[in-house]
């Protein structure tokens, strides 16, 4: 009898202790949110759009040179002839300056970053575009969310195709390999489609974005409204040599935006409430990106090794073309001895160094970055009209901008190539350091020519690259070729 009792106890013990609470094995992450919860309503879907804006200024891929979009901006000028490196410093951007990095398939700063960064925008946009129609919430919100996603996708493809594809030439078929075309969320490998197909998609996305953005009033300049989307469209048209669309879109885009005053012009390009800022981001202190920052390399006054020993200078030949009396002439010091120019403690002074970009607080590497300015729209309009042979509107657009910078400027008397050249010089001066030069050289089929200026050959190494050379195409990252098992193919080595 006793034996039986003991077995009952044993059985009882095991059965009682054997059961845990049903949800014992249910755990949820605390630093992420499940995909399933994101697109249930527009309120939450907005958070993805905000995240994409923030992606414009985030630390990328553990590489100090990459602070979001500013990584692309610095690279585009490092590859050009208007920005001059004055010292090896700690090596950042020197490999790029030498035209080395973007031709190394394993390079992280130039090749991997530019590819993955823009495809990450595309992938996030694809999730929004695929899911937003089924989210609960006002149609106006759905439109604004979808439109911004479409605009980002168009913009991202445009940024990337200019690097990885051959130059778009409207006189040709443009059937060379472009990029993988991803417009829905999916896994698996996608081959590259032609440059033309990518441009077609870009235009389709931007057109749809523009049509959906009509009524959208944005909370701040980091959002894409109809002006910004039209600005994108103008840039794209310029790259496609579609002068009429470029001029029309640029003119529409700048509506409602003024040009900044001379006082604003010398205040450091670090405030996105600048009247010229059509699109940009504000970087607040607790969202700093440390050395992953535009101003950690391009500013005149941040106390980083890179700036102390490699203050960025302007090409001396370009500087010589700035008229006396032009406010922009004061942004660079041709002597390298002007002590009125701010430098970090124990920083070097070099001839032609800049004070265009300044950090507002020298203890922090950050400042706001403008990604699209009114003046660019005037320049697009002027250039497109001039190239289309529309001399008068070209001169007028140029005049509005140039007069703002230089009170003594009078309407240009140039025509033809001379007018185009004048506009291009204005463009190079106005947009110096803002990430346009490589794109411009490539879209215009111009050679790189750094000779005869203040470039130190020891640092620059490469100072002539013929137009149309294969080096105008970035290599596709090796890891993309590996992860697609070669479905994505490499550019000519």
């Amino acid at each position: 009898m006793r034996i039986n009792k003991r077995f009952i106890v044993a059985a009882l013990a095991v059965s009682m202790l054997g059961s845990c609470k049903k949800d014992f094995l249910e755990t949820v992450p605390t630093s992420s949110v499940s995909e399933a919860n994101v697109f249930t309503n527009t309120n939450d879907a907005w958070k993805v759009i905000n995240g994409m804006h923030r992606f414009l200024y985030r630390q990328m891929y553990s590489s100090q040179a990459l602070g979001g979009q500013s990584g692309n901006m610095i690279l585009m000028d490092a590859l050009g002839e208007d920005l001059v490196m004055t010292g090896e410093s700690n090596g950042w951007w020197i490999g790029e300056y030498k035209w080395n990095s973007h031709r190394l398939a394993t390079n992280t700063v130039a090749v991997y970053y530019n590819y993955l960064y823009y495809f990450s925008f595309i992938s996030n946009a694809n999730m929004v575009i695929a899911n937003i129609d089924n989210a609960a919430g006002p149609q106006a919100d759905k439109d604004a969310i979808k439109a911004q996603a479409l605009a980002y996708r168009g913009w991202a493809y445009f940024q990337a195709i200019q690097l990885y594809g051959e130059r778009f030439d409207k006189t040709k078929a443009n059937d060379g390999p472009g990029l993988p075309l991803k417009i829905t969320p999916s896994v698996g490998a996608t081959p590259r489609v032609s440059v033309k197909e990518i441009y077609d998609q870009i235009n389709k996305d931007l057109d749809q974005a523009i049509s959906l953005l009509g009524a959208f009033t944005r909370p701040n300049q980091s959002h894409i409204n109809i002006n910004v989307a039209r600005g994108f469209k103008a840039r794209v048209a310029l790259a496609q040599q579609d002068w009429a669309t470029a001029a029309q879109m640029a003119a529409l885009a700048r509506q409602g935006f003024a040009l900044m005053s001379n006082t604003d012009y010398v205040s450091g390009f670090n405030n996105y409430t600048n009247p010229e800022c059509m699109w940009g981001y504000k970087q607040q202190e607790d969202q700093t990106t440390f050395f992953f920052s535009f101003f950690a390399y391009l500013s005149g006054n941040y106390n980083s090794t890179n700036i102390r020993t490699n203050p960025k200078a302007i090409n001396s030949l370009l500087y010589a073309k700035i008229r006396t009396g032009d406010v922009r002439r004061g942004l660079w010091d041709p002597t390298g001895t002007n002590t009125a120019f701010p430098i970090p403690p124990s920083g070097s002074r070099r001839p032609y160094m800049n004070k265009k970009f300044l950090v507002p607080n020298t203890a922090l590497s950050i400042g706001d970055v403008m990604l699209m300015r009114t003046s660019e729209m005037y320049l697009i309009e002027a250039e497109a009209q001039a190239r289309a042979g529309q001399i008068t509107p070209a001169k007028q657009a140029l005049f509005t901008l140039a007069r703002q910078r230089d009170a003594s400027y009078t309407l240009s008397e140039n025509t033809g190539d001379a007018l185009i050249e004048e506009i291009m010089v204005q463009r190079r001066i106005e947009l110096w350091g803002e990430g346009f030069r490589f794109y411009d050289l490539k879209r215009l089929n111009l050679p790189l020519d750094r000779s005869g200026a203040n470039h130190n050959v020891t640092l620059a190494l490469v100072y002539n690259v013929p137009a149309g050379d294969k080096r105008w195409q970035f290599l596709i990252p090796q890891v993309e070729i590996n992860n697609t098992l070669g479905i994505v193919t490499q550019n000519p080595l």
Partner: protein
């Protein structure tokens, strides 16, 4: 918890009626009549037992059905006796390993009854080795245990792998079990002095009861308990010195460096792809002989050029030589350059080395009576690394108490705490790592600023030397990490962490019939980690503002289990059984803050002294496992043994439908020596064959909710809340499973003069988890492109391990034992993801038929004697960069000079040794003991990153290996070192390729120690029972292929500029009272 209490109460009520039938008492002695304390006395076939007291006496109450008593202890051979003959028992010293009692999953067992091998290290084995980390005791201790050397940084642990590599993306480290419960604290928390034994569980039979966590084997540590009848107090003092165990690479000096850098710069002008400068002009430009512009640059063809002096940042270390006359246009160093201006200030290592030391002080006491026992210890370790700002202090204490107040109830508590306080150098491998910096900086750059003319130190206003950060205004601009100075930064920065660890184990045993026992275990391990970091405002990453970070984490693991043990003999049939339930809960809290802009520069690195919050983050990770477990064992006359186990685990890491799985094993053994045809053998003392097969799992190393598609929080745009895609989903994800089988023979021959084990094992990992890298065109997050975690591959590790111990001499005054062990295994991937048949991972490529450590590298061909170009086998033919050469057999080889067009190949080499193992020798002569152990590796290949980094093609400012003196210089030079040319270092020099292979074969004198036991006559004078002096060396010597190479830094064979291992020479004394 309430359930547990209820159950305990229930047991108390029902267990009461167990009344004894007969009281037996007696005395246990050794063969010389000396009383033996602490001998276990058990009633055979039951779980009832007691232990002998200090005089060897015991008393036990035997129930009516009790017939036989079993006497056992760790040192003595087990003996059985009838009740009538039990008053006087003599035990003989154990000379057979089969009588050992070893730790198994959820219990202990006699080695004889096992169907697996369980190598074990006891406290006695390491008593003369002053270890700070118990893991070091495992190095070389048994076959199948592979370890890395480990860093020399105080507090670091070597890596461990058992029987190959079980996983690729998840952890391949064994499960650590302390006193029966999986342990999440670091092993550095455990005072080695507290360790009673470390057992290594490698095969299916021994590991499978740990189920889903045992795929990589188990290291099971048992801490000391009190021994009844023996009150004992002992203390130890160990004092040692530490120093760098592996020397630095051989590098060029200043006189050799300048001409090489001249040549490198000259060649970059001369061989430039566009606008090449003619040789004579390039020579003059490099020397600095052409006219200069206002900026001090030479002007040639309208463009500005620097010279070698400027290229090297305006550093001229030579006395009496003008800066444009250091190297002539013939490329030779100016003959007048015979003395250095700062020759005594070029060794950057000396600038941060110091005399390392290690002190270890401990006190332990233990004792008990028939009812209760206790153990207590306190230990203090103070280690100063051989480099500045690298130290560790550890305080640890432990109390263990066991008591059995009634016959049927036993309980105990084992609590230990450790407090660690350590300073660490900055991130290994980064710019502010002093080892990286000191190795890499060119041999002309001084640590401190010097007057460029006189060479005298430049002093600041207080008269102190000034560190040369490479861009001090008015002085040179060092191109190597300009503006940085790892040694200065190391001095100013702070990286300190404190770790508190509390471990508690308690249990209750209820013996409620003589063959049935219930045990409840509860444990908690709490670890708190507090990290304080500060980057200074003067130099480095923290400049100009200064910044501080604080990181606090708290890990709490709870394990509760309830076990029912059955043990009964039916005639010649022995049956054991176990059934139980376990729940495990793990919680990890993380809190991180980061502020910048320091207020007062007064050394205050706390947050109020900084003005701007730049990061504030927290999260909580949880993991839960619930398990049901069971085991059965059966043997017939101890001759034929079979075992089986089954465990069912559920894990919170996986999606609901795939959350549960079964893990199991079966095993069998046959004691041939008990068969009649062998019992009379003159030379076979023991012979056992055994085998087991089973399934275990692995999920260690998977992140939180790895199956979910996720959006990361924290992408706020200003105040607007933002999220972004961070992970793609996979609801199918589940454990990796290992199917292990092994067969072995244990033997002891010639009166136990030779004993050993030979085993074959085959571990098959199925459902191997791959982080399948997605196309970049599918997006990614700030860390990189997306990966999807998938159970997709298969792999095996199969091999043979053997250990043989020989008692070479065994005399009264002298004995000498030798143990040699060896392991050879093959690791091979048998299935890869269908969409990703190949994964390139750094220097390796995974594919079917290859190991996880097979190198995949550009195929280096050699150096072209005509122009010194590095040549690689080509990938795509291009006239621009390919050459067709005649090889020595007269055939044609197509090669390329462009590294990005080089062909990748499997070089049929991997980092896995052909054979590894150890040779251990121990001697005893009268009162002296000596032992030493060599570990060895035969075969296997290293990828010598450290060397490759010093064999670049002339990057200005970076140091070079001596081998750079063999560089190509003139057409016709036949060499393996290419042309120096600073502009194309990747193509020419340090690009990743097969060039940097190095044989990993090596022999290491891992430890040596000599001990002297003080004679009894002396001891009685100080009232001590034993005392021992010893001298010990760890990491004593390394014999390897290349001076400076870290041969055993990691399992993948790819070394880095890490903190080299430390050699520790120490002396100690142990006294027992």
């Amino acid at each position: 918890m309430r359930k547990l209490l209820f159950t305990l109460t229930a047991f108390l009520l029902f267990a009461g009626p167990l009344l004894a039938q007969r009281v037996v008492s007696g005395k246990v002695t050794d063969d010389k009549g000396k009383p033996l304390a602490g001998v276990s006395v058990m009633i055979k076939g039951t779980l009832i037992g007691t232990v002998t007291n200090a005089d060897g006496n015991y008393t036990i109450t035997v129930p009516a059905n009790g017939r036989t008593l079993v006497f056992s202890s760790t040192e003595m051979t087990e003996k059985e006796s009838s009740l009538d003959a039990a008053s006087k028992i003599t035990l003989t010293s154990k000379n057979s390993s089969l009588d050992e009692v070893v730790v198994v999953a959820y219990g202990t067992a006699r080695r004889a009854s096992l169907t697996s091998s369980i190598p074990r290290i006891t406290a006695d084995d390491i008593k003369n080795r002053p270890l700070v980390n118990v893991v070091n005791a495992l190095v070389g201790s048994a076959p199948g245990i592979q370890t890395t050397t480990g860093s020399g940084a105080p507090g670091s642990s070597p890596g461990i792998r058992l029987r190959g590599f079980g996983s690729y993306n998840l952890s391949s480290s064994p499960l650590i079990v302390v006193d029966g419960v999986p342990y999440d604290g670091g092993l550095a928390n455990i005072n080695p002095e507290d360790m009673e034994s470390i057992s290594t569980l490698k095969d299916a039979s021994s590991t499978s009861l740990y189920g889903s966590r045992a795929a990589n084997g188990v290291i099971s540590i048992t801490t000391k308990k009190g021994k009844s009848g023996r009150n004992n107090l002992s203390f130890k003092v160990v004092q040692g010195v530490t120093s760098r165990a592996i020397p630095e690479y051989e590098k060029v000096n200043a006189f050799e460096y300048y001409p090489i850098m001249w040549e490198s710069y000259r060649n970059s002008l001369r061989y430039n792809a566009t606008n090449a400068v003619p040789l004579a002009d390039a020579n003059r430009l490099a020397s600095g002989l052409l006219p200069r512009n206002a900026a001090g640059l030479q002007v040639f063809n309208g463009n500005a050029y620097g010279d070698v002096y400027q290229t090297l940042g305006n550093y001229n270390p030579f006395a009496g030589v003008a800066s444009n006359a250091i190297v002539g246009e013939d490329g030779k160093l100016n003959p007048a350059a015979t003395s250095l201006l700062w020759g005594d200030d070029l060794n950057w290592f000396d600038a941060f080395y110091r005399n390392g030391s290690r002190g270890d002080y401990g006190l332990t006491y233990q004792g008990g009576n028939e009812k209760s026992d206790y153990f207590g210890s306190f230990n203090y370790t103070n280690e100063k690394g051989f480099v500045k700002r690298s130290d560790l202090q550890r305080f640890s204490g432990r109390v263990a108490i066991n008591t059995n107040p009634t016959k049927w109830f036993k309980t105990g508590l084992n609590i230990s705490g450790a407090m660690i306080n350590t300073n660490q150098i900055d991130n290994e491998g980064s710019i502010n790592d002093p080892f990286y910096f000191a190795r890499g900086v060119g041999p002309i750059y001084p640590v401190y600023v010097h007057n460029p003319t006189t060479g005298a130190f430049v002093l600041d206003a207080q008269g102190n030397k000034v560190y040369d950060i490479g861009n001090v205004p008015g002085f040179g601009s060092r191109p190597f990490n300009q503006g940085r100075h790892a040694i200065y930064e190391n001095e100013l920065n702070q990286f300190n962490y404190k770790r508190n660890n509390l471990s508690a184990r308690t249990y209750g045993d209820i013996i409620f019939t003589d063959y049935l026992k219930f045990t409840a275990n509860a444990s908690v391990d709490v670890q708190e980690y507090y990290e304080a970091g500060y980057d200074n405002a003067i130099v480095g990453d923290g400049a100009p503002a200064g910044r501080a970070r604080r990181n606090f984490t708290r890990t709490v693991s709870n394990t509760l289990n309830q076990l029912l043990n059955f043990n009964k003999k039916f005639g010649d049939h022995n049956v054991t059984a176990l059934a139980g339930h376990e729940s495990y809960s793990y919680t990890y809290n993380y809190l991180y803050g980061f502020k910048i802009e320091q207020g007062f520069a007064d050394g205050n690195t706390e947050f109020p002294n900084f003005s701007t919050i730049s990061s504030l983050n927290s999260y909580t990770n949880r993991e839960r496992i619930e398990s049901y477990l069971s085991r059965v064992g059966y043997d017939y006359k101890g001759k034929y043994i079979v075992t089986g186990s089954l465990r069912r685990d559920g894990n919170s890491k996986f999606a609901k439908d795939v959350r549960w799985d079964n893990f199991w094993s079966v095993g069998a053994a046959w004691r041939l020596d008990k068969e009649t045809f062998l019992t009379n053998s003159s030379w076979i003392n023991e012979l056992k064959v055994r085998g087991s097969y089973g399934k275990v799992g692995n999920s260690e190393g998977l992140g939180m909710s790895p199956y979910m598609g996720l959006y990361a929080l924290g992408f706020n745009n200003g105040p607007a809340f933002g999220i972004l895609q961070s992970a793609l989903p996979n609801n199918e994800l589940t454990w990796e499973t290992a199917k292990n089988w092994d067969a072995g023979v244990d033997f002891s021959l010639f009166k136990n003069r030779i004993s050993g084990t030979v085993e074959y094992f085959n571990r098959v990992t199925d459902g191997m988890i791959f982080n399948v890298g997605q196309p970049l065109s599918n997006g990614g997050s700030t860390g990189g492109n997306f990966v999807v975690v998938q159970n997709i591959g298969s792999m095996y590790n199969r091999g043979i391990e053997a250990t043989v111990t020989g008692r070479v001499f065994s005399r009264k005054d002298f004995n000498w034992n030798v143990t040699v062990n060896a392991t050879t295994f093959k690791n091979q991937i048998t299935k890869m993801p269908d969409t990703q048949k190949e994964i390139i991972d750094g220097t390796k490529k995974l594919s079917e038929g290859r190991s996880i450590y097979d190198y995949w590298l550009r195929d280096y061909y050699g150096v072209d004697p005509t122009d010194g170009a590095s040549l690689y086998r080509y990938n795509t033919f291009s006239t621009a960069n390919c050459r067709i050469l005649t090889n020595k057999d007269g055939g044609l080889d197509t090669v390329t000079t462009l590294i990005s067009n080089a062909k990748y190949i499997y070089a049929d080499r991997n980092s896995i040794p052909d054979v590894y193992g150890s040779i251990q020798n121990s001697f005893r002569y009268k009162n002296f003991e000596m032992s030493f152990m060599f570990t060895y590796q035969l075969g296997g290949w290293l990828y010598d990153n450290g060397y490759a980094g010093l064999m670049h093609a002339g990057t200005p400012g970076a140091n070079l290996h001596k081998d750079a003196l063999q560089r190509w210089q003139n057409p016709g030079d036949v060499t393996n070192v290419p042309r120096m040319q600073s502009s194309t270092t990747a193509d020419l020099g340090a690009g990743t390729s097969t060039k940097w292979f190095l044989s990993a074969t090596h022999l290491s004198l891992n430890n040596i120690n000599i001990a002297y036991n003080l004679p009894k006559s002396f001891l009685s004078a100080i009232n001590a029972s034993a005392a021992r002096f010893y001298i010990s060396g760890e990491n004593v010597a390394l014999f390897a292929k290349r001076k400076g190479t870290m041969v055993n830094q990691n399992f993948s064979g790819t070394n880095s500029n890490a903190y080299p291992p430390a050699r520790v020479i120490s002396a100690g004394i142990n006294v027992n009272f």
